[in-house]
Amino acid sequence: MADAWKVTPLVMLILLAGLQAIPRELYEAARTDGAGPWQQFWRITLPLLRPALTMAFIIRGVDAFRIFALPLALVGRHLPVLSTFAYVEYLEYGNPHTSAASSTLLLVMILMTVGAYLRLAGPEEVVQ
């Protein structure tokens, strides 16, 4: 939750850039055809905002995967994530090998998640 609030401005700016890239003429044409605000949102805004949403989700997701300072500072070891595990292995147990192995696992996990999301979002989003 704290991390989500921390990065809200960044995500908002990405989404704002995406929203401002949508041509106003589309809304005017939709209004002329009798579309209401909800129809405009579902039929124009959301489909055209999907690339920006994908980008924001991926940037945020990758960033959130590797957080360790925030959970360590807020809840200590009660919320161990993979990055805090790697950190503790290296600094407290003095084992760079297991730390490197767990960090590599984290990298693999990030790559798999981004790949899965891009596959779910559709290839046209990747092209855009």
């Binding site: 939750m1 991390d3 989500a4 989404l15 945020r60 959130a64 595990f85 297991t98 990298l107």
Partner: protein
């Protein structure tokens, strides 16, 4: 021109892949190869002992799920917070005819986004920041908006 571009690509790939290679190498090298005053670049011996220790620790599945949960939840929450804010900001229309209102072309939402973007990116792009990629993305976005 082509040589320069090729060299640039090589440097870029080495710069990106170098740290990953070192990470992987440390994870599969015996301690004698790492804890030495002159570590070698190519591993002479490969051991999977440390990987086995991590995988057999019994914590890794829970840690992976927790990382996935934190990342997905954080990203979705950030989208939920930022989505309505961005939507309302993008659809804000200033009434220029109102008394005291800014002139058309004065203060506009896109300009505000550019200023905010540059301030945010400027703060993030200092050395050691964790958001270099996001900062450069924002800089390019704000450049396009001008």
């Amino acid at each position: 021109m082509k040589v320069g571009r090729g060299l640039f690509l090589i440097v870029l790939i080495l710069g990106a892949a170098g740290p990953l290679y070192l990470l992987l190498k440390v994870s599969v090298s015996p301690s004698a190869e790492v804890m030495t005053p002159h570590p070698v670049l190519l591993p002479h011996a490969v051991t999977w002992r440390f990987w086995e220790r991590v995988l057999a620790s019994g914590q890794i599945t829970a840690l992976l799920w927790k990382s996935l949960g934190v990342a997905s939840g954080g990203a979705l929450l950030a989208l939920a917070f930022a989505g309505p804010a961005a939507y309302s900001l993008a659809h804000t229309h200033l009434d220029h005819s109102a008394p005291g209102a800014p002139r058309p072309g004065g203060v506009r939402t896109p300009r505000l986004a550019v200023i905010l973007g540059r301030i945010y990116a400027g703060h993030l792009s200092h050395p050691g920041s964790q958001d270099h990629a996001a900062a450069s993305l924002l800089l390019s976005l704000s450049g396009k908006l001008v």
